[in-house]
């Protein structure tokens, strides 16, 4: 659920970049951060502990007042991909609104992709969220490398579900389709929010 702060007049969406270790989640965040003007973003914060690291930053893509005087804000997080850091991932996933699952296209990473994806599903389930109803998109990253699996196999592994989501072939380090994936998940979030918060529409508020 997006956070609606009536006091600060702010609606906040939380998007988490999920995936196996070294798949390119942080590269996604760094690229996005670099492409957003300083006026519209917060600092890229690294929450490093002795054991793991979580990156996040706030995105304030718009300062204009909308939604009956509300501002929108996007919080982008990564999670540590290593298997042992599941408690951190669970923590980061709290109150998440949408996920960009960053899969590693390298042949050798197929099993890690599957395990990470199952881990995402499990962790969402502990919050009472079904992945089949949750906003997410897939990024098949590192498409510029040589030793990579065909996308139909990645699709078979990660998207062969009753509900098929959008997937993007990306190269996070250069930015290929990084914003496309973010745009896609944001579209789903906005539609969902629009459906669930009809009271904020101008027509119903008299705006």
């Amino acid at each position: 659920m997006p956070l609606i702060n009536y006091a600060s007049r702010e609606i906040q969406f939380k998007i988490v970049y999920y995936g196996p270790a070294l798949a390119g989640k942080t590269a996604n965040l760094i690229y996005i951060h670099s492409r957003i003007g300083p006026a519209y973003r917060g600092d890229l914060v690294s929450l490093a502990t002795s054991a793991d690291r979580t990156l996040f930053f706030d995105l304030l893509p718009l300062h204009a007042e909308i939604l009956q005087g509300f501002r929108t804000k996007f919080q982008l997080f990564t999670v540590p991909g290593q298997v042992i850091y599941n408690s951190t991932r669970q923590l980061v996933l709290r109150n998440v609104d949408g996920v960009v699952f960053v899969a590693d296209s390298l042949w050798d990473k197929m099993e890690e992709n599957v395990l990470s994806f199952r881990n995402l599903e499990d962790n969402l389930r502990t919050q009472g969220i079904s992945l089949d109803e949750f906003p997410y998109v897939l990024e098949f990253n590192k498409r510029d490398l040589q030793d990579i699996a065909p996308t139909n196999y990645l699709e078979y592994l990660l998207n062969d579900r009753k509900r098929r989501v959008r997937r993007f072939e990306s190269v996070a380090k250069t930015g290929v389709n990084v914003f496309a994936a973010l745009d896609a998940v944001t579209q789903i979030l906005l539609r969902k929010f629009d459906t669930e918060h009809r009271e904020l529409r101008p027509s119903s508020t008299g705006r």
Binding site: R35, I36, G37, Y40, L59, P61, L62, A64, I66, L67, T72, F74, W107, M110, E111, E112, N113, V114, L115, V137, D147, A149, P150, N152, Y153, E155, Y156, L157, N159, D160, R161, K162, R163, R164, V165, R166, R167, F168, E169, G175, V176, N177, V178, F179, A180, L182, D183, A184, T186, Q187, I188, L190, R191, F193, D194, H197, L200, R201, P202, S203
Partner: protein, 493 residues
């Protein structure tokens, strides 16, 4: 796997069992023994279990559904309906009996006129004869398989290929074979460190392949990893290499590199399910990040999205209503990151809701274009491009979605079609209310091209090496206004 004596199965004599199946009209079989797995001892009558793959290829094609079934699926048939033959090591079952056991694979019920006997071998692909006559592994295509880690009997299903790559087929065709051949060298190169070899490993031929059961491989593809027990690998090794693996732990998991598997795997091995729904809307809305996505697509020459093709008739998310929250956010999205770079590469086009009737009932257009032909959109745009001084033209939406026409240089069409209308929009936005912008002309080298916009329609025209000839610009505006009116009339209807 132990054997099961057919004649003693469940204390019932096989001859009696077959005699009871007199309705089949088949010859009396000799007594034979059957594999354990094939005998399901139910409290009632004993059952014969067989994977569909064992007989599927024997079935009349005209009776089958188009969709290939799961060949590993076991079906169960009463013993009394099974006629075994110990001499030929075959079993015979009536087609009608099979159809009752697995009706889902048949397109229609098997009628008496269709009924034939289906005979198929049980040991056709066995590699190592069992110690008890017929007791071998049934290796017909689709026989039931566990996932990773095979049972000891699966060992017998692995055959050493003892062939080189030149001898092997380029792709596995599972319909014809129940095994897949993969190169041995990459498997051995990837052996886990805990595997102890008795001597340094040297392959006599780097192209040597081993054969693995296709079902064993397929059943694990979904996990992103394929592994077999070391004992299976050893069984498949060339004789010359087997001594080196003498101390290997039989249950150790040996990974089979996926890239090697996919070199030989048929494409239907990873078919995606067809009964899916789309988890997103086909109708795009602009978000605070759309600008960057489009800009990256242009700059990096990629297609933002690369998403799965939407299936026809699948579920769609509901589009946001006009004036909804999403639309409001989208309205200010362009402010997110300042002015964007101009673009010259193709980008995917948004879905448009602009519609035209199949045939125009417009005397205005006919008069403007000086024709008595019945016009439609393509004809109209073709006529426009034939106006004096014009070489070609494209009709697009204000967002750049092509509606009709073709560019004089087709290779540039995909770049011009989306880029120019957007550039026009940006310029128009920048000018705001100060000046009304209805068209503009750009020069590329010596070639001028113009863009004219009327509401949601854009017309891009390539000139014949000079500005508009007298009256043509006005005519174009008139045509565009008429097209706009036709489109709105269609929408209203």
């Amino acid at each position: 796997m132990g054997s099961s004596d057919f004649s003693k199965s469940n204390g019932e004599d096989a001859t009696e069992a077959v005699q009871r199946s007199g309705s089949t009209g088949l010859a009396m079989p000799a007594v034979a023994s059957f594999p354990d797995w094939a005998v399901e001892k139910s409290p009632g009558a004993p059952l014969f279990s067989i994977p569909i793959g064992a007989f599927y290829n024997k079935l009349p094609e005209e009776l089958l559904t188009l969709k290939k079934p799961d060949l590993s699926h076991l079906i169960h048939i009463a013993w009394e309906d099974v006629v075994p033959d110990a001499d030929t090591k075959e079993v015979t079952i009536l087609l009608s009996i099979l159809s009752l056991s697995c009706p889902e694979i048949f397109a229609r019920p098997v009628e008496s006129a269709d009924d034939v006997t289906i005979t198929f071998p049980l040991d056709q692909l066995k590699t190592e004869p069992g110690q008890d006559g017929l007791h071998t592994e049934i290796t017909a295509e689709g026989s039931a398989q566990p996932a990773a880690g095979a049972s000891p009997t699966q060992e017998s299903r692995i055959k050493q290929a003892a062939t080189t790559a030149e001898d092997s087929p380029k792709k596995d065709t599972s319909a014809a074979s129940d095994e897949i051949k993969v190169k041995l060298a990459p498997i051995l190169a990837d052996l886990p460190p805990e595997i102890e070899l008795l001597s340094p490993l040297t392959l006599p031929d780097p192209e040597i392949e081993i054969a693995l059961p296709i079902d064993l491989v397929r059943s694990q593809l979904k996990d992103g990893r394929v592994a077999i027990e070391a004992s299976l690998l050893c069984a498949a090794l060339p004789e010359v290499l087997k001594p080196i693996f003498g101390k290997i732990e039989p249950t150790a998991a040996i990974s089979i590199p996926l890239r090697e598997i996919f070199r030989k795997l048929s494409s239907d091995a990873i078919e995606l399910r067809e009964d899916y729904t789309l988890g997103y809307s086909l109708e795009t809305i602009r978000t605070p990040f759309t600008i960057q996505a489009e800009e990256d697509a242009l700059r990096l020459a990629t297609v933002p999205g690369c998403s799965t093709s939407p299936p026809g008739g699948s579920e769609r998310e509901s589009a946001p209503e006009t004036g909804g929250v999403a639309a409001q956010i989208a309205q200010i999205a362009p402010e997110a990151n300042g002015p964007m770079a101009a673009a010259a590469k193709p980008v995917p086009l948004p879905v448009t809701d602009i519609e035209f009737p199949a045939i125009f009932d417009s005397h205005v257009l006919q008069a403007l274009l000086m024709t008595e032909e019945i016009l439609d959109l393509p004809k109209t745009i073709l006529k426009v491009s034939e106006l004096p001084g014009l070489r070609s033209c494209l009709l697009t939406t204000a967002q750049g979605t092509k509606l009709a026409g073709k560019w004089v240089e087709p290779t540039k069409e995909t770049a011009i079609s989306p880029a120019l209308p957007r550039m026009f929009q940006q310029l128009k936005s920048a000018l705001g209310e100060a000046r009304s912008l209805e068209g503009m002309t750009l020069y590329f080298d010596q070639d001028p091209l113009s863009i004219i916009q009327v509401n949601e329609l854009c017309l891009i025209v390539a000139h014949d090496n000079r500005p508009f000839r007298p009256g043509v610009r006005e005519k174009l505006f008139s045509v565009m206004q008429e097209l706009d009116e036709i489109s709105h009339a269609k929408k209203r209807s």
